[in-house]
């Protein structure tokens, strides 16, 4: 058994009066891909956004319970949220490169965290990150062109390069392929296979095939509750809960 990277304990999340997550407890293994599936509005995106405290941005959002990364409570009062997010990168549903050049997009994180001492260090970080994101060969001649000028799939890989530029431990992916065509999706999935050797990846996805292809463990969310979490083969071949079975056989959602 692999070591545990992230552990959530009795997590309850409220948006104002409305409760979005009910007593979610689960763990995620280091350097593995964990997939979160479930119908729209089931709370899987809310859950993943708790892991890097992106929900802090929303005023009315309240989080109760405990999330530990490497045994440290990330909601502890002395936790610096900027440092947490340096360690927990995120890729969003819609590619959101900054309106800057490709180089500046990737250099953004290292710059704000003061990672690179010299310009040559920065260049090296940018090149390595782009290589890891399998984008370098396509953009090496136009690093100073606008990042927004790339195709959708390239933009998403640019966002992945941006996320790994600060060398995080964990990468959160919130439906990273939902705005992409099948070929671009295949490339990203392939990329995840490479990335998991270095990073712990948590992916929210609507596609059950995708979860089955890329992940080692899968959690199924329904109506704000974590119904079941287990090895991916088990979830897809022999789920213990009727609701999981109904969902993966396409009876609802």
């Amino acid at each position: 058994m692999k070591s545990i990277k992230i552990k959530a304990d009795n997590l309850n999340v409220y948006y104002g009066e409305k409760q979005a997550l009910f007593d979610v407890s689960m763990y995620m293994e280091e350097k593995q891909v964990t997939a979160l599936i479930g119908p729209s509005g089931c709370g899987k995106s809310t859950f993943i956004r708790c892991l890097n405290r992106m929900n802090d941005v929303i005023d009315i959002c309240k989080v109760q319970g405990k999330i530990e990364i490497d045994g440290n409570d990330i909601y502890a009062p002395d936790m610096q949220v900027e440092q947490l997010r340096e360690r927990v990168g995120m890729v969003f549903q819609k590619p959101n490169p900054f309106p800057k050049s490709i180089f500046e997009n990737v250099a953004y994180g290292p710059r704000i965290h003061g990672i690179a001492e010299h310009k040559s260090d920065l260049e090296e970080i940018v090149v390595t990150s782009l290589k890891k994101a399998a984008l370098f060969d396509e953009v090496k001649d136009r690093l100073y062109d606008a990042g927004t000028g790339l195709s959708g799939g390239q933009q998403q890989r640019l966002c992945i390069a941006r996320a790994i530029s600060v060398n995080p431990d964990i990468i959160l992916m919130d439906e990273p392929c939902s705005a992409l065509d099948p070929i671009a999706t295949a490339r990203i999935e392939e990329l995840m296979g490479d990335l998991k050797t270095e990073y712990t990846i948590i992916i929210v996805t609507h596609s059950m095939q995708q979860a089955a292809r890329v992940s080692s463990r899968t959690g199924f969310f329904h109506l704000g509750k974590l119904v079941e979490v287990d090895k991916t083969e088990t979830i897809f071949s022999n789920p213990s809960d009727q609701r999981t079975q109904d969902y993966i056989t396409g009876r609802f959602g």
Partner: protein, 463 residues
């Protein structure tokens, strides 16, 4: 006459809309005719035929009427052959006055009385004829178009086509007005430059057009002209005051915009934003008092306290108040632009571990820059064109100075000064106002052009 006739045409138009609509519906139900458009389009179709040609005809009659009347009334005098063009037009005025019962001269009474009778007769006839032809045309076309409604006629296309022509004409009006203004400015400016060399105007350091005015026209000396119209002090004053205004409004406006878009809670924003926007709605004259009665003395007192010589009317006071006036132009526009930067970019930046300040400075402001530059330029052109505050607070003294504590004057202020009161339009003093106006126009145009280039270059790089 015009009002009644136009009301009648409009009435016919409204009636014919209902007639057309009704007939189309009738055709649809009774004959099972498959009309190509909805019935109300046939209403519009008939109404257009009723109104548009009639109005055009009326326009034509009214514009050619006076010429025709004059020719007819004056025919006896023209036949005599002893009158010049100017005398004829004077004569016509005299006849018109006599017709109204005003009698000033007693000469040529018989001829004039005859002409007055002719005038009354022709006026009456033309009025009657106008009624008959315009209303007749309208009625005929209503009938024609009503009977024209059948299943081959696509009235929707015709109505849309008409609207297209209408929109085009309206935009043409705006364009032609601009072109007209430019040409009239150019014409007067060229006349001005025929008396004063353009280089003297653009590079001369002394502005005192009053000197020309004081002298008799016959005494005008080229040396006087050469030294009176040097516009550099005005350009410098305009630049100085606009610069002071921007120094006040850019930082305050931009920081306000950042606070409003990124930090203020929706509640604060809801009441604070309209209050700031009220600043732009205060009449500039009111800013003028404020500048002249409060800020200028304050500046003077503070300056004297610090041992500086400050005139009671200073460029600093005017520029400062003007800066306050244009804050909302910058804050409101920039606020909207920053607010409209996609939320996904903010999230992307936060997710990288950026703080709020880093996100604003490194992502939001660059992304919003074209709009922010646009708001600055709007503010600058407003500052350059502003007149009232300067008139009241900075004085009218065209002195070449870079000292903000001194009195200064601007292009627009001098245009006001020149054109106030009785003026003769062929004096170089009056014409210099047109030259100033054209200069202002060219400068504003250049500013806009530069701004567009800056924005374009920036957008190419980052978007």
């Amino acid at each position: 006459m015009g009002f009644i006739l136009i009301s009648l045409i409009v009435l016919i138009g409204i009636t014919s809309y209902f007639l057309g609509n009704f007939r189309a519906k009738n055709l649809r139900t009774s004959n099972q005719k498959n009309l190509k458009s909805l019935s109300h389009y046939y209403g519009y179709y008939v109404a257009l035929w009723a109104v548009v040609p009639a109005l055009l005809l009326l326009l034509m009659i009214t514009s050619f009427k006076s010429f025709f009347i004059e020719q007819y009334v004056l025919s006896d005098f023209i036949a005599l052959g002893s009158y010049t063009e100017t005398e004829l037009s004077l004569l016509f005025t005299q006849i018109e006055n006599t017709a109204l019962g005003i009698k000033l001269f007693d000469e040529n009474t018989i001829l004039i009385d005859g002409a007055v009778n002719k005038l009354n007769y022709i006026n009456k006839t033309i009025e009657n004829l106008t009624y008959v032809t315009v209303l007749g045309l309208s009625g005929l076309l209503v009938l024609y178009s009503l009977f024209n409604i059948n299943n081959k006629l696509n009235s929707r296309k015709i109505v849309e086509k008409f609207l297209l022509v209408l929109y085009f004409t309206c935009s043409l009006v705006a364009i032609m007005t601009t072109v007209g203004i430019i040409f009239s400015l150019l014409y007067e400016t060229l006349r001005f430059f025929s008396q004063v060399p353009i280089t003297d105007f653009l590079f001369g350091l002394n502005w005192s057009p009053q000197r020309v005015f004081v002298r008799e026209a016959g005494d005008l000396d080229t040396r006087d002209l050469a030294n009176a119209f040097g516009a550099v002090p005005l350009f410098a004053g305009t630049f100085l005051i606009a610069l002071i205004a921007m120094c006040v409004s850019v930082p305050v406006g931009l920081l306000t915009a950042i606070y409003m878009s990124e930090y203020a809670s929706p509640k604060v924003r809801d009441w604070a934003k309209p209050i700031i926007e009220i600043l732009a709605g205060i009449p500039t004259v009111v800013y003028g008092f404020f500048a002249a009665l409060t800020v200028a003395p304050l500046v003077r007192d503070i300056g004297q306290g610090a041992g500086l010589t400050v005139s009671s009317e200073s460029a600093l006071a005017a520029g400062f108040v003007m800066g306050i006036m244009i804050i909302p132009f910058i804050s409101s526009l920039s606020d909207d632009v920053i607010k409209s930067v996609p939320q996904s970019l903010r999230e992307g930046s936060y997710a990288m571990g950026a703080t709020k300040r880093e996100t604003i400075v490194k992502v939001l402001l660059p992304a919003a820059l074209p709009g922010i530059v646009g708001s600055f330029l709007l503010a600058v052109s407003r500052a350059i064109g502003e007149t009232m505050i300067v008139v009241m607070a900075a004085g009218l003294n065209a002195k070449l100075t870079a000292n903000p504590l001194d009195a200064a004057t601007t292009i627009t202020t001098q245009i006001v000064v020149i054109l106030i009161g009785d003026q003769e339009f062929d004096s170089p003093k009056t014409q210099s106002a047109f030259a100033l106006g054209l200069t202002l126009f060219v400068v504003t145009l250049a500013l806009n052009f530069i701004a567009l280039q800056v924005v374009k270059k920036y957008t190419e790089r980052y978007d």
